[in-house]
Symmetry: none
DNA sequence: TATGAATGAGTGTTCATTCAT
DNA sequence: CATGAATGAACACTCATTCAT
């Protein structure tokens, strides 16, 4: 993939993360990238195609950083859990404004009226729950490990939603702390 | 408030719950209500004002059904918890399509670029957490009751998000079941 | 149908007759009508819908003037033939530029890639040939009357094409004269 | 002329015959030819120049096949007439879809707003009528031979228009049959 | 009160043409 | 000779809002 196309994806990903897919107008993307309409449509056939490419871009990032880099690493389950929580904090605390989870945002905005988006996003959550189930099994045994994994993922996504709505990262930190107590410290 | 205005709010609330605020066009609302533009602008000065009225409408519903009707009722904390979980299930399982939580949806769509929406929505979540803290204190003591309340609310909202993205209510039921075990059955 | 809608159809019909469907841009129509985009889309859902309305408009005109007014009138077959030829001349000679037959033009431009246009236009030609067959039967007997009707219609349409391409109405007058000799004068 | 340039003309001619000049996009032509933009603009300065080259290409084909090969051949006038009619049938019956006469199509699409196209196309029709006049003189004497030639050409072009609009070659065959009876069989 | 005609800035998209390599 | 990235004006269409009646 050409460098320019990558740059468009990255730049647009940031905008869409911050403002949402529909609210981010093509003209915003064009202005942010410093390109013209023609150049955009040289690389993408539509705004929707760019949107799907952005989901893929984030999916790859999660696969590399979270799934492969943490949950499937050779480290101890306690460390995996801890690093996952750290990763969640660092990912969502950084930006000036608290934009929320890129997948969570798109999940709510797109998944009901665009099946391609839904499937791509769903795959991320499924993989995450799947790998987390393994970690929780190692920590607390097989019993209800899958349910627990779902609960943790739901808790993190819900915490990010509350944080975004509260515009204060303290909520996220507090809930993450609660999860840590349940699976690591105790 | 006139009956007609109420009917517009209810009808529009359903549409916006299903399709989102931006995606629901004024013409959709007009058609669903069977009214003309003039009548709409007689009752509301803008689409945004309607949106805020819808948030108030849902807020009132939550206040009545969840806060007053359940969490502040005279029943035992166990029953309060159980009824809250039942209420969450019934609220999100019913619609043909799984549209998600009206507040969660609007929280993600609106709260970052419209402060009025954010504040109204945030108030709901705050009240919910506040009252749930009381219930959890009664169940498990004061220690970290507020953190636990946040975690439960986050879990429910996150569960609804996962459910919506999975288009299958099983996820929600499973996670609710996990919460029940933690606070009631055990 | 509202007066404004009629006016848009008439004005656009003239433009499209002169320049063709695709070459006539919406902005041309808007400028010629002195209206804005919003007003246009208040009356029509698309440019294509306007195009079909224009075909209907011309079809009605032909039905009234040619089919009912001439071919199905109570006059003698010779007079019917003569009036039809006069009508063809007057219809195509008048405009400053020789724009050709509105149906012939649209037939060639649209009929291959838009079935709705094709069917509407085809109906006109079919009706014309049908009624002309009756007239020719009255003039020269049943034998091959239908074939002769087809030939006359083809001749007129072909003559208009040659005239348009030659930008000189003499070709049309000459060919019409030939038809007259064959069916009336002799 | 280079072989590549010829190939572009032939390929584009087929596309434009089928879809029309405006509707055939440069990208369609490029894709069909398997070449890039640079190569196209090396051979042609614009799409319009290609269009004019295509008219020349068809004109040459008609000159060779119809004018020289049939109407100016040494054969009898009856055979010339018969071969001309056969040629018309074979030319328009073959393609899967009935695209109509390449000149007739372009005549209606282009001749009114592009003088260069009009003149080129008009020359073809003029030459055709001129040579056919000679043939008809040989068949039926000088009287009104030119008018008759015009009528036959108009009839053929009109028949092709009706055929295209009816999407059925039977109309063309029927009309050609009528011409045959008038000039050969009788 | 209520209608629906009218507005106009803005949307995503197209496409012949240019130009650096 | 040839590529394909880049341009930018134009296109059909949308929609919240206004306004004459």
């Amino acid at each position: 993939m050409s460098q320019k196309k990558q740059q468009i994806i990255w730049t647009a990903a940031k905008l869409i993360h911050a403002k949402g897919y529909e609210s981010t107008k093509l003209s915003d993307i064009l202005a942010a990238c410093g390109i013209g309409k023609g150049q955009f449509y040289h690389y993408f056939t539509s705004k929707r195609e760019l949107g799907l490419a952005i989901v893929d871009h984030y999916a790859q990032m999660w696969q590399d950083e979270l799934i492969e880099g943490i949950l499937k690493s050779g480290r101890s389950p306690e460390r995996k859990m801890e690093e996952m929580l750290q990763w969640a904090i660092q990912f969502h605390e950084t930006p000036e404004k608290l934009h929320g989870c890129p997948f969570g945002n798109l999940a709510l905005e797109m998944s009901e009226h665009d099946e391609d988006f839904r499937v791509k996003i769903n795959r991320i959550f499924s993989d995450w729950i799947e790998e987390l189930t393994q970690v929780i099994e190692a920590l607390q045994g097989e019993k209800q490990a899958r349910q627990k994994a779902r609960m943790v993922v739901a808790q993190i996504e819900g915490a990010i939603l509350l944080m975004k709505n509260n515009q204060d990262s303290e909520v996220l930190l507090d809930i993450i702390d609660g999860i840590r107590q349940e699976y690591i410290s105790s």
